[in-house]
């Protein structure tokens, strides 16, 4: 019976989970790369150490997976939009909707939501800069409000929802990314510095 439940949960999470191994070829070109992959078992282990708040623990337990790939390159132009096509192709399913697509000269951010029956079941964020690429995939029934609540309770940030989507309390001084790197201006406007 336990097996059946696990299989059902795995099947349910199948659509929301993105295979980020398609980006592994960029690791050889990056000066620094990070790979985080948390399955339900690891999330359960992590939640056991979140003793400070039962809400945080419950929110983490509601997640079915957290997958992150980040790459930091020496020079601009080490990766292109084509490198992200294997990821975007997985987001073409009927349940995925791109809700944010922000592009500027050398930055691009896409945020995709996985929706079933009007409820959020997963999120994918693709953030590309001239020398940095981050792809985050969160699987589970964790909406933006809950995500903001979780980050606040864990003392990570102010909890930011996207405008118009259950705004959480905004921070006045945004925290830098965990691995900040100096930005460089680049004249190219297509392939992130090509």
């Amino acid at each position: 019976m336990k097996c059946f439940i696990l299989l059902a949960a795995a099947a349910a999470a199948f659509g929301q989970q993105i295979d980020l191994s398609k980006l592994e070829h960029l690791a050889s070109k990056a000066k620094e790369s990070t790979n985080v992959s948390l399955d339900p078992e690891k999330l359960k282990m992590a939640s056991g150490l979140l003793g400070e708040s039962g809400d945080a623990k419950n929110l983490v337990l509601s997640m079915q997976g957290v997958h992150v790939r980040t790459f930091e390159f020496e020079r601009p132009g080490e990766f292109s939009s084509a490198d992200l096509e294997p990821i975007r192709s997985q987001l073409k399913g009927p349940n995925w909707s791109r809700i944010v697509d922000v592009k500027s000269k050398d930055e691009a951010v896409e945020i995709w939501f996985y929706m079933t029956n009007g409820r959020m079941g997963g999120m994918t964020l693709i953030a590309a800069e001239a020398r940095e690429l981050s792809v985050i995939n969160i699987v589970g029934a964790l909406d933006m409000q809950s995500l903001g609540q979780l980050t606040r309770q864990l003392g990570l940030g102010g909890g930011v929802a996207l405008p118009g989507m259950n705004d959480a309390k905004p921070r006045t001084d945004p925290k830098p990314a965990p691995k900040p790197s100096p930005r460089q201006q680049d004249d190219d406007n297509d392939d992130f510095g090509d």
Partner: protein
């Protein structure tokens, strides 16, 4: 006397002499223990086994704890990165806001 008769007489049942059983039992009581396993050895072996089990259990718990700490660190990193990216995206959207849509 032929061989058969000699064998028959040699193998005939004879009752032991009087006091034979008592003498044998008395000698048995006075014989020293020949077993090399001392009581303290058994206790030491049991303690060693217990120590081994406890050490293995401690090691298992420690490895689980390390794995959980790593999972927590990974989770915090992922959430912080997500929050940071959302912060930056929100700033961008505010800069590019169109007529109060946001």
């Amino acid at each position: 006397m032929n061989l058969d008769e000699e064998l028959r007489l040699a193998l005939v049942r004879r009752e032991p002499p009087d006091g034979f059983v008592d003498r044998v039992m008395a000698r048995l009581e006075h014989q020293p223990r020949r077993s090399w396993v001392q009581p303290w050895m058994a206790i030491a072996a049991a303690l060693l086994l217990l120590a081994g089990v406890l050490a293995w259990q401690w090691r298992e718990e420690r490895e689980k704890r390390i794995a959980a700490e790593k999972a927590k660190a990974d989770l915090l990193y992922a959430l912080e990165l997500t929050d940071s990216q959302l912060q930056q995206t929100r700033s961008k959207l505010k800069r590019h806001s169109l007529g109060g849509l946001i």
